[in-house]
């Protein structure tokens, strides 16, 4: 959205000023203290970026080790217990320490205040606090990983986790408990910021769709995470004092644990996809140079997903002994939650129609996202249909499905978003040709890794298997080979990002010709308070006004105040 200024009036005046000659948020202050005690949302975003990349590499290493074990049917590379620890730690690290904070805490932290035209989040110190909480939780998890790991699966099902496991479940429960508060506080901060800090003229329906997605995500973080917190706390108490809440031998109900766990963890699945949808909306509009098709429908579908997401948790438990009628209701509600996702996909595609499409790296990731998310989404229906779920539940079909959503969806969107806003964050361009190549490698590697797992699952290979029957060998080898391609694609990206940080081309303020306050009003990289000193942002146009200027040629100031 283009904006008019009260003061100073000339937006172009500072646009071409190179980053070297002015003070940016990166150069405003030096030394480790200036980073560890910063309350600048952009610096906190960078802190998050570094820490989630550490966890991404750790979780990725676990994944590669698992795929190495599964290269052969015999469990010959690791002991069964080691393998069980690998998949558990892979899940815990990737979900709680990479996927959940990935887009909200990095891109959200960096962009939410800039996109609504304000200087910072509502509670800057709480923002920093949430990073510290994350680091403490992450540290505890690493401590567990180093001192023996945990082998319950990331779902911590009782009574295995509460009574039978011999690994350090209590410490991981505490780590997850602590980390939960990090995302509660982030969600709270975003909600309050979006409600109260929008610049004059930035009405709800002028907000970029990324913000709608962040808002919906934050609602889930705020309302779901506390229930997870109390659930793992009860698990901890059960483990430490044997109080019997989830232990059938003492009258407790292990299925209650599953209800409480999924009440959070199913909405949490949407924490791991909604922000990605927001990023994709931004990228699609920018690289089609066109207004978003069906803006309101995309915005409301985010909220619909967040709300419906809270009432579908029972679809994880069709065969757990839950009554068939309860299962029926959950199955029905799950069908409904599929609709807003479908609406989003169709709107994105309609946005391409009669636009000016160019295929820079962010767009490659966004289009890849649409394809992979579609497959991830429709295979979710296979699992939500009760009659089929009885067969595919807890098989590799499930593994393939959620990796299509989590990796094919969220990680693709995260990669797209990082490429898209890299220049804004660091004032440098990444090498375009190499990035396009890496995007294709990642796309191909991803499909090789996870598509065979759909077939494996339907063939009946259960998940979390350290060894498997010979008939599953071919598909597992294919999957492991794909994982190598996928892994090298990610490594390639990390290398050129680090390279570009130092040697990349200086980025202009708006390399993509994009709309939005972060491109039109903030330099690359922005100063500490995001906009020029004393500049009051006033928004006068809808989001994605790409076609407005051409069709109306700035003649009709039909802007609403």
């Amino acid at each position: 959205m283009s904006s008019t200024l009260l003061t100073p009036p000339a937006p172009a005046a500072h646009a071409s000023q190179p980053a070297k000659e002015r003070t940016t948020y990166l150069t405003a202050d030096y030394g480790w203290k200036s980073w560890l005690f910063t309350v600048d949302h952009k610096r906190i975003a960078i802190l998050y970026l570094i820490s989630i990349m550490v966890f991404f590499l750790i979780g990725g290493t676990f994944a590669i080790l698992m795929r190495a074990e599964l290269l052969t049917p015999k469990g010959d590379l690791f002991e069964a217990e080691t393998y069980n620890k690998l998949f558990t730690m892979h899940g815990v690290v990737m979900i709680f320490f990479f996927l959940i904070p990935s887009i909200p805490a990095v891109l959200g932290n960096f962009l939410v205040p800039i996109m609504i035209g304000t200087k910072d989040l509502a509670f800057p110190k709480i923002n920093l606090l949430s990073w510290y909480i994350y680091v403490v939780g992450g540290g505890a998890t690493l401590y567990v990983a180093i001192t023996g790991g945990v082998d319950t699966g990331w779902t911590f099902y009782a009574p295995y986790s509460s009574t039978y496991a011999n690994t350090n479940v209590a410490a991981v429960a505490i780590a997850v408990f602590i980390t939960g508060f990090s995302s509660i506080l982030t969600g709270l901060n975003f909600i309050v910021t979006i409600h109260k800090m929008r610049a004059p003229g930035m009405t709800w329906f002028r907000m970029p769709l990324f913000l709608w997605a962040q808002y919906a995500t934050s609602l889930i973080m705020m309302l779901g995470t506390p229930v997870l917190a109390i659930t793992v706390l009860l698990l901890f108490a059960e483990r430490a004092f044997h109080i019997g809440v989830f232990d059938p031998a003492l009258g407790g109900d292990p299925v209650l644990f599953q209800h409480l766990f999924w009440f959070y963890s199913h909405p949490a699945v949407y924490i791991m996809i909604l922000p990605g949808m927001g990023v994709v909306s931004e990228i699609i509009a920018c690289f089609s140079k066109k207004r978003m098709f069906g803006y309101h429908f995309i915005a409301f579908s985010s909220l619909a997903i967040a709300i419906f997401g809270f009432v579908v948790w029972g679809h994880h438990m069709f065969v757990s002994g839950q009554s068939a009628y309860a299962g029926m209701v959950f199955s029905f509600l799950t069908m409904l939650v599929a609709i807003p996702s479908a609406v989003k996909v169709f709107n994105w595609i309609a946005t391409l129609y009669k636009g000016q499409v160019s295929l820079e790296t962010p767009m490659l990731y966004a289009l890849g996202f649409i394809g992979l998310f579609t497959i991830g989404g429709v295979t979710g229906l296979f699992l939500a249909v009760m009659g089929l779920d009885r067969h595919v539940h807890d098989t590799y079909f499930v593994v393939a499905h959620f990796h299509y959503v989590m990796v094919g969806g969220m990680v693709m969107a995260f990669m797209g978003g990082i490429h898209f806003w890299w220049s804004k964050m660091f004032g440098r361009m990444y090498p375009e040709a190499m990035a396009q190549f890496a995007a294709v490698v990642i796309f191909v590697g991803f499909n090789f890794t996870f598509f065979p797992q759909f077939i494996l699952g339907y063939m009946g290979m259960p998940r979390r298997y350290h060894q498997y029957n010979d008939e599953f060998t071919v598909l597992n080898v294919l999957s492991s080979a794909g994982a190598t391609i996928l892994g090298s694609g990610f490594l390639m990206s990390i290398c050129y990002f680090i390279w570009s940080f130092k040697w990349g081309k200086q980025a202009p303020q708006n390399p993509w010709g994009a709309k939005g306050l972060e491109w039109e009003k903030a330099q690359s990289p922005p100063p500490t308070f995001n906009f020029e000193d004393g500049e009051r942002i006033v928004v006068t146009e809808d989001a994605y006004a790409y076609t407005y200027e051409e069709s109306h040629a700035r003649t009709a100031p039909e802007v609403k105040k």
């Binding site: 099902y157 292990p254 009669k354 636009g355 000016q356 499409v357 539940h393 979390r464 407005y548």
Partner: protein
């Protein structure tokens, strides 16, 4: 060539083909949309590429008509899936009345099965073809899940309660049994083979096994040995409620609530009698049998109690 590279497991039960049919329907829908979306992306991205001559973007805000269309069509399709899938699930959830009664007990890391005639098996299972088999299952430790891909059926096995599953095999041969719910270190080794045999072969196999007492006989023996009979007799001065013909009936409790006497209730009443005492009797009178009976003993007692209802004289003989 697909013989060497199958895309779905063997269809060896009555439910397998209907499940596969639903699967193919969903694949068709998914493939259609995945293709549609891919084609649209490729077509739009090339036809409306930025470097085409005279490129400009059309000003389009959206179309309510289109939104309605792509809301209603997916909704319709998912509703078809929902009804079809739920119907199939309810068929599997509804236990046939005349089934062979098997019991399965899961423990780390083995499956213990017992045939209606008393033979026991570990991990493996032998069943006759063309006959409905019903498994009543529980676990001695953590949650497991009994899974036979060739039969397209699976059910979690939860400690402290009974879950049920049934199938009718339609194909002779051996098929895999897995544990599908992660249950600890040797989870991936917890499984065996189910062998489907003709009725004659099955009977021959049974006669070759060690002739145990049937679950009903074992239950009757336990009923006496554990002195259940002392209180649960049909006399008017009995200190416990009569069990004759009660299985499956509703009964009023001291708390005023009603409960159906089913396997779970019987199990709870054996292990924790004070939890739900029947109206008219004193709570806390019956001692717990926790630690004195194994899961398999309780299953036998339940099998015996069920015969109480079927044949009225059985109660009389128990109360003599």
């Amino acid at each position: 060539m697909w013989k060497d590279f199958p895309l779905y497991p063997e269809q060896a039960s009555t439910i397998a083909q209907p499940v596969d049919l639903l699967y193919f329907f969903l694949i068709a829908v998914s493939a259609f949309f995945a293709l549609l979306i891919s084609v649209l992306i490729v077509v739009f991205a090339s036809k409306y590429r930025k470097d085409r001559p005279n490129a400009s973007s059309a000003h389009i805000e959206g179309s309510t008509m289109l939104e309605v269309i792509w809301t209603v069509i997916p909704l319709g399709l998912t509703m078809i899936m929902f009804v079809w899938g739920t119907w199939l699930f309810f068929q599997q959830a509804h236990m046939p009345a005349d089934a062979l009664e098997f019991t399965v007990t899961g423990k780390q890391w083995m499956w213990k099965a017992q045939h209606p005639t008393g033979q026991r098996e570990i991990n493996d299972l032998h069943v006759p073809i063309g006959k409905a088999c019903r498994m009543t299952m529980t676990s001695e430790d953590v949650i497991h899940s009994y899974y036979i891909p060739a039969f397209r059926t699976k059910q979690d096995v939860v400690p402290g309660r009974y879950s049920q599953l049934w199938f009718e095999a339609t194909k002779l041969g051996t098929f895999d049994i897995y544990c599908a719910e992660y249950c600890g270190t040797e989870h991936s080794k917890m499984g065996g083979k189910v062998t489907v045999m003709t009725q004659t072969d099955y009977e021959q196999w049974l006669s070759g096994g060690v002739a145990n007492e049937t679950p009903v006989q074992a239950g009757e023996r336990l009923f006496t040995a554990l002195r259940c009979i002392t209180c649960h007799n049909a006399t008017s001065t009995a200190r416990g409620p009569s069990l004759s013909g009660q299985f499956g009936k509703e009964v009023k409790l001291l708390s005023g609530a009603t409960v159906t006497i089913d396997a779970d209730y019987v199990r709870e009443s054996i292990l924790n009698p004070a939890a739900k005492t029947v109206e008219g009797f004193q709570a806390g009178l019956m001692p717990t049998y926790q630690g004195q009976v194994k899961e398999e003993d309780i299953l036998s007692l339940i099998a015996y109690l069920k015969t109480f209802g079927a044949t009225a004289p059985a109660a009389g003989s128990a109360a003599k």
